[in-house]
C-alpha cells in the first residue's frame, strides 16, 4: 500500500519525522495521541463534517470548464472549486478540523503562520467562531503584498505579528510561530497551515484536507462515469495538492501532477521549486526536499505568489516524487500571469496567483491528451487578495 503512511515515527520513506527542540516533543506527542483517539470518534467526525457543510459550504462543486476545454480542444477540463469555500480557499478545511482538536484538548490560545494570508484568515475565522485568543505570524514582505488579508485577520480579532527576521516571508513566519509555541507550550495550539512541519502535522493536515479528494471520487463518477486521467494542483508546502491527491494515490491509472513556482525560471536559481531543483534536508521539523546551499543553509526563494514562496515542501510529496507516483513540474511567473488572464477571460473565474500555477501547466499538458480524457484542476483559492499585486506587477493605474 502507498497510502498507509506515515509510519509510527512519522516518516514517509526517508522523509518527515520530528526534528524539533526537546521542549516541543511533549506537545507533538500530546497532539499525536489526541488525534489518534479522535480520528475514528463518531462525534468528532460528525462535528467536523457538519462544520464543513454548514460553515464552509461543502461539498465544493466539480465544474466543467467549457471554454477552456474548447480552447485546447483535447481532454475535458474540470475544475474542483475550492475557491468557493468560505474565506475563499481550501485552507479553511484544515483549520476547521484543527480548531476542533484544539477545542477537545482544551487549548485557549491559537497561533499560526501565514504566507499569502489565506491560512491566517482561515485560522482567525475559526478562532473567532470559538472565541479563542488568536496570534498570526506573517513575514513583513508578505504583510506588504497581502495587506487586504492582514486587515481581514484584524477584523476577525486576531493579532498579526510582523516578522522581520531572515527573508521576512513564510519560512521566517514559521520560525517565529515555532518560537512562540516553545515559549507558550502548555496553553497554546499551533495550527500549521500546510502538510509541512514535524509529525503529526503533515498527516493531520492531509487527512482534514483529503475531503477534497474524497468528494472528487464521487463527483467524477457522477460527472463523467469514471476516475480522472490527471489531477493537477499547485504546490508550495503542498496542502491543497496533498488533499486532492491522497485518496487517489492507490489508483495507479490516475496521474498526479504538482506544479511548483519556477519564479524567474529554474535556471536562474530565483524560484521556489524544491522538488524540481532542491536536495533532501531538514527544515521546520521534517526531512524533505529543500532549497539549500552546499553548507546546508536554506536559500532565499522567489515567486510572485506569496503562498508558494517557501523553500521546503511537505514530506509526503518528497516521497511521492521519489517513488515516481506523482510528477512535479514548475512554471514561471510570466507563464502564471498569462494563465491568470486566460482563466479570468474564458471562465469568469478569478484564481489566486497560487492556483494560476496549476492552470499555467495546461499549455504543456493539453497537446498530449486525447478528446476522451478528463483532467481535474484543483482551484485552490480565489484571487481577490492578489489584485493589489497584479496591479503592481502589470504597472496598471487604477
Amino acid at each position: 500500500m502507498k497510502d498507509n503512511l506515515p509510519d509510527k515515527d512519522g516518516f514517509f520513506g526517508e522523509y518527515g519525522g520530528k526534528f524539533v527542540p526537546e521542549t516541543l516533543m511533549y506537545a507533538l506527542n500530546e497532539l499525536e495521541q489526541t488525534y489518534k483517539t479522535l480520528k475514528d470518534n463518531n462525534d468528532f467526525n460528525a462535528e467536523f463534517h457538519r462544520d464543513l457543510a454548514e460553515f464552509v459550504g461543502r461539498p465544493s462543486p466539480l465544474y466543467f470548464a467549457k471554454r477552456l476545454t474548447e480552447n485546447y480542444n483535447t481532454a475535458s477540463i474540470w475544475l474542483k472549486r475550492e475557491d468557493l469555500n468560505h474565506t475563499g480557499a481550501h485552507k479553511i478545511n484544515n483549520t476547521v478540523g484543527q480548531i476542533l482538536l484544539a477545542k477537545y484538548m482544551g487549548k485557549k490560545r491559537i497561533i499560526a503562520e501565514t504566507g499569502a494570508g489565506q491560512h491566517g484568515v482561515a485560522t482567525a475565522t475559526v478562532a473567532a467562531r470559538l472565541g479563542l485568543d488568536c496570534h498570526i505570524y506573517m513575514g513583513s514582505e508578505d504583510v506588504r503584498r497581502q495587506s487586504l488579508n492582514v486587515y481581514r485577520m484584524k477584523l476577525l480579532g486576531a493579532e498579526v505579528h510582523e516578522v522581520n527576521s531572515g527573508s521576512a516571508t513564510l519560512k521566517d513566519a514559521l520560525n517565529e510561530a515555532l518560537r512562540d509555541w516553545v515559549t507558550n507550550i502548555e496553553d497554546t495550539y499551533y495550527i500549521i497551515g500546510s502538510v509541512t512541519g514535524p509529525h503529526p502535522y503533515p498527516m493531520i493536515v492531509r487527512d482534514f484536507n483529503a475531503v477534497v479528494g474524497y468528494e472528487l471520487i464521487d463527483q467524477s463518477q457522477e460527472s463523467f462515469g469514471r476516475m480522472p486521467d490527471s489531477i493537477i494542483a499547485c504546490v508550495g508546502g503542498g496542502s491543497n495538492a496533498m488533499g486532492i491527491f491522497y485518496p487517489f494515490i492507490k489508483m495507479d491509472n490516475v496521474e498526479l501532477i504538482g506544479v511548483e513556482a519556477a519564479g524567474k525560471g529554474i535556471e536562474t536559481g530565483e524560484h521556489a521549486a524544491p522538488l524540481n531543483d532542491g536536495t533532501p534536508g531538514v527544515l521546520h521539523g521534517a526531512k524533505s526536499y529543500l532549497m539549500q546551499d552546499e553548507s546546508g543553509q536554506v536559500k532565499g526563494t522567489a515567486s510572485i505568489s506569496a503562498g508558494l514562496d517557501y523553500p521546503g515542501v511537505g514530506p509526503e510529496h518528497s516521497w511521492l516524487k521519489d517513488i515516481k507516483r506523482a510528477k512535479y513540474v514548475a512554471v514561471s511567473d510570466d507563464e502564471v500571469m498569462k494563465a491568470f488572464h486566460m482563466v479570468n477571460k474564458m471562465e469568469g473565474i478569478l484564481p489566486a496567483l497560487e492556483t494560476a500555477h496549476a492552470f499555467a501547466y495546461l499549455d504543456e499538458l493539453m497537446p498530449n491528451m486525447n478528446k476522451d480524457q478528463h483532467i481535474v484542476i484543483n482551484v485552490s483559492g480565489r484571487g481577490d487578495k492578489d489584485l493589489n499585486s497584479v496591479v503592481e506587477i502589470e504597472d496598471i493605474k487604477l
Binding site: T23, M25, Y26
Partner: protein, 261 residues
C-alpha cells in the same frame, strides 16, 4: 579519558561547578572568534560551546538569531569552524569543545563531523534531533565524540530514561519553556527535574537557558553540575565588536565564575 569527562572530574574533585560558555563561531568574524575562545577560557569558562550558525535557528531568541545572521554574512560554514578549532588547539589542548547547531548543517558535513574528534572537537549537541533518537542513524557515528542531549521541563519521565541512555558527556537541562535568552526561571521545578535525572543516571547535568545574572547562576549551580551561558555573552560580544575591546566579556565571565564557586 575523554576531555569532557576529565574536565568535569577535575572540577568536581576541587568541589567546583562547571561553566559552559557559548559563542557563535564567525561573529563578528572567525579571527575574533579565536581570540574570544582563548579570552573566555582565561576568564573562567571551563567548556566551550561553539554555535554553528544556521539560517533558521528555531530554538534561538533574537540575540543568538542575529549572531547567526551576522556570522552567515561572513559565509561561515562547518569546514571553517573546524579550521578555527584546529587553530585554537595549537595553544589549548585542555578545554573541551562542543559544537552546537542544527541537524541540517551537520548532515551536510557528516564525514567532517565523524573526523572532527581528531581535529579537536569533543562533543556535538544537535538542537533539533529528539534525544531518544540515535545520531548514528543519521550517519554521525564516532565513539570518541560525546553526544550531548537536551532535557526540558516538558520532557516526560519515560523519555528522560531513553534520552540519558543515548547521551554521553553531560545532559543539558533546558531551564525554561522558551527560546535562548528568555527569562522567568522556576527554581523549584528545575531542582525537582534535575534531581530526577540524577536519580536515574550518574551523567553530569548542566543547566542552561535564561541565566542572566550572578543570582541566577548561583541558584542553578546549587543543584546542577554547572551552568551554560549563551545569550548574555553573545550580546556583550556584539556590543563591543566594533572596537574589539572585550574587557566587558571577560569581566562578565569572571563574575559568573565567581558566583558559582
Amino acid at each position: 579519558m575523554k576531555r569532557i569527562e576529565k574536565k568535569l572530574k577535575e572540577l568536581s574533585q576541587d568541589n567546583q561547578k562547571a561553566f559552559v560558555g557559548y559563542i557563535v563561531a564567525g561573529d563578528p568574524d572567525l579571527e575574533t572568534s579565536l581570540q574570544l575562545m582563548h579570552l573566555s577560557v582565561d576568564s573562567g569558562v571551563d567548556i566551550l560551546e561553539i554555535g554553528v550558525p544556521f539560517t533558521d535557528p528555531i530554538a534561538e531568541g533574537p540575540t543568538i538569531q542575529q549572531a547567526h545572521d551576522r556570522s552567515l554574512e561572513n559565509e561561515t560554514n562547518l569546514q571553517k569552524i573546524i579550521d578555527l578549532i584546529c587553530k585554537f588547539r595549537e595553544k589549548d589542548t585542555n578545554t573541551p569543545i562542543i559544537l552546537m547547531g542544527y541537524i541540517n548543517n551537520f548532515l551536510m558535513y557528516k564525514d567532517l563531523i565523524n573526523r572532527s574528534h581528531e581535529l579537536g572537537v569533543d562533543g556535538v549537541l544537535v538542537v533539533d534531533i529528539p534525544g531518544e533518537l540515535s545520531l548514528e542513524d543519521y550517519g554521525i557515528d564516532n565513539q570518541d565524540l560525546d553526544i550531548i542531549s537536551l532535557v526540558s521541563p516538558t520532557t516526560s519521565k519515560e523519555r528522560v530514561k531513553e534520552i540519558v541512555k543515548n547521551s554521553t558527556g553531560f545532559i543539558y537541562y533546558v531551564t525554561l519553556r522558551g527560546v535562548t535568552g528568555s527569562s522567568n526561571l522556576d527554581g523549584n521545578e528545575i531542582e525537582q527535574n534535575i534531581k530526577y535525572i540524577k536519580s536515574i543516571s550518574s551523567i553530569p547535568v548542566m543547566a542552561g537557558f535564561g541565566i542572566k545574572n550572578s543570582d541566577d547562576a548561583k541558584l542553578l549551580s546549587s543543584f546542577s553540575d554547572g551552568i551554560v551561558i549563551g545569550s548574555s555573552i553573545v550580546e556583550l560580544i556584539y556590543k563591543n565588536s566594533e572596537n574589539k575591546d572585550f574587557h566587558e566579556v571577560s569581566d562578565y565571565i569572571s563574575n559568573m565564575k565567581d558566583a558559582i564557586r
